[in-house]
């Protein structure tokens, strides 16, 4: 009813084909799950722009480089208030009557504080270090740190260390469930984490039986839907994460449509085939920090106090106070997900308008926990658009113990940020369950690209630390004197706890 044969939406992208270069091999046609490309009756390749999501699969596979995708310059009458995006989304809703859905992280033009932080380096008065010649330590332990040294009657030190996660480098792959991403994407993450000596995270979809072998490098997640949670699952990982919220959609739950609950996903999630997997917005047994404490200790009890427990929260207005509560709940690690964090599907308005930047959240949490003398109760892990080694270094200098990378990991596996995950037709074999698309991600290639990425970042982290004259990641942690701000106001500097460049 809503459209009456009128097409209100002009295609956002145009497929530009250099017909001189096109050899009509039809790779573009075979590889596009959106069915953009086709061959006409004269043997000439054509494209239906309206179906293109700009994922670059065709562009990347075209053997002669005949294709490019450009943004349409079709325009509405220019208006600084009613932008083309706002108008188009309004038309879409007037046609469908539905909530707008989006994927991946918040793409809006809000400030990226990482880009306004600058790092220090040594000159003359203190020596920088060459990481290729001298040892440089990036090993990180996550978990509660003992407050005091305890000795037995003979004066020997008693080991009062609680369980820790050991990471070779302060980077982990963040939670992405089996269901939201494919079997091959999970296989790539699991194998890469194992080879790198870091961790990946199951997300809330349970752990496929094939991946129990990667347990020592797996963080198993317990979310509000409790999908796939059982004793063997909790024991399989090196840590258990309670997911309270995620940066892309703080305060709301999740909904994996029944159509995607097939075969292994149904078995792994422990729900019947074809039934919708609905994660409630809250954990229905957690309405307070005291309730959270009960779940933390239930999970510790179930795993015989052998695994650290992580509590993951989204960065929201009161994040410092919430983190303070979490740090007193018995949790060993707090994971904070900033408003840029990715997702396989979220309501657009929530993704783009709810939550706060991770840089500010991290700084205020770290400061608050220090002020209250409970910083050692927990390790702090941050995620929500860590884009490069420089972001990792800045996060650690602001006070993080380690970083979660999700979007960056997807990019390494081939994702081109077309932000259409919710369609389930990922041409790169990541956010899809269609077998012919899933096989496009060969885990031999995917895991190698992830290993390459994290190794490259680790080299860069060492290089940057060396420049500062720091030879251990521990000496960088919370070392905000290594940061200076540019383009920030007094309040922002105050929250970040840093000086302005030149000060």
């Amino acid at each position: 009813m809503g459209n009456n044969g009128i097409n209100y939406i002009h295609p956002e992208f145009e497929v530009v084909r250099d017909q001189d270069k096109c050899i009509a091999c039809r790779v573009c046609e075979r590889q596009c799950a959106n069915e953009v490309h086709y061959m006409d009756e004269d043997g000439v390749m054509r494209a239906d722009n309206s179906k293109c999501v700009n994922c670059h699969r065709c562009v990347s596979l075209c053997p002669t480089g005949a294709l490019k995708i450009v943004k349409s310059d079709h325009t509405f009458r220019p208006n600084g208030n009613w932008t083309p995006q706002i108008i188009t989304e309004l038309y879409r809703q007037a046609g469908s009557g539905g909530v707008l859905l989006s994927s991946m992280g918040n793409p809006t033009n809000l400030p990226v504080y990482w880009d306004r932080l600058l790092l220090n380096a040594s000159q003359v008065t203190n020596p920088s270090i060459d990481p290729l010649r001298e040892p440089m330590e990036t090993v990180t332990f996550l978990g509660k740190k003992p407050k005091e040294i305890v000795r037995d009657e003979e004066g020997n030190i008693v080991n009062n260390q609680t369980p820790q996660i050991r990471l070779n480098t302060p980077i982990m792959f963040s939670a992405m469930s089996y269901g939201s991403i494919s079997y091959n994407a999970h296989a790539s993450l699991a194998r890469a984490a194992t080879e790198l000596g870091i961790c990946y995270n199951t997300g809330e979809g349970g752990l496929h039986e094939d991946f129990y072998q990667y347990g020592p490098n797996t963080i198993v997640q317990v979310a509000s839907g409790r999908f796939g949670v059982h004793k063997a699952y909790l024991e399989a990982g090196c840590a258990v994460e309670i997911k309270i919220g995620q940066g892309a959609k703080p305060g709301i739950g999740g909904h994996l449509p029944g159509a995607k609950i097939v075969g292994d996903i149904s078995r792994t999630r422990m729900i019947p085939e074809g039934s919708d997997a609905i994660s409630p917005a809250p954990h229905h047994d957690i309405y307070s920090i005291e309730d959270l404490r009960q779940l933390v200790y239930s999970l510790k009890e179930a795993t015989e106090y052998n695994k650290p427990v992580i509590v993951k929260i989204a960065a929201v207005h009161n994040v410092a106070a919430i983190a303070s509560g979490v740090a007193r709940s018995g949790a060993d690690i707090i994971a904070i997900d900033g408003f840029r964090g990715g997702t396989g599907a979220a309501p657009t308005r929530i993704r783009d308008n709810v939550g706060i930047p991770i840089e500010l959240a991290l700084a205020s949490v770290d400061s608050r926990l220090r002020e209250e003398g409970i910083r050692d109760n927990v390790s702090v892990v941050v995620g929500g658009s860590i884009r490069s080694a420089a972001d990792v270094v800045k996060a650690i200098a602001l006070g993080a113990d380690a970083c979660y990378i999700g979007t960056a990991a997807c990019l390494a596996m081939g994702c081109h940020l077309c932000r259409s995950c919710q369609e389930g037709k990922c041409n790169w074999g990541i956010a899809t369950q269609r077998p012919e698309l899933v096989k496009r991600l060969n885990p031999n290639i995917g895991s190698q690209r992830l290993v390459n990425l994290v190794n490259a970042w680790t080299h860069e982290i060492k290089e940057i630390m060396g420049g500062m004259g720091i030879n251990s990641i521990e000496s960088l942690r919370g070392n905000r004197l290594m940061l200076r701000g540019v383009g920030l106001n007094q309040k922002e500097l105050e929250i970040l706890g840093i000086k302005y460049a030149g000060e």
Binding site: K21, V27, R30, L61, E436, K439, R440, N442
Partner: protein, 142 residues
Amino acid sequence: MKRVYVNEEWCLGCHLCEYQCAFANSGETDMVKALKGVKINPRIQVEEGDGVNFAVQCRHCEEPLCVKGCISGALSIKDGVIHLDENKCVGCYTCVLMCPYGAIMPGNGTAVQKCELCLNNSCGEPACVKGCPNAAIVYEER
């Protein structure tokens, strides 16, 4: 000996290998010039159906029926690779009939053609392996 193998689990049926093969054996340095408007006749061919795809080319058999059947001695084994001497070939197509894989076929300009692992063309290494987007075609010892 290193041979070209196909892992059908990873073959997407994109047919890029066929175009890489045709280009590598075209003698041209530009793919567009080599293949624009050309109906290709590649030495590797993708078989597809029922959700299973895989590319097939000469297996370089240890006891090759094509060599056994060749009436003019044009086919021989050179360092494990089955080599075609076009000067000796009389175009009887016995090899085409003998090959159980359908890996020898009538050529363009020559009577027959077959994969020689790109050892004799400008590519120097199997072009299908180099150009496969999903590492479904590999060149290795097994």
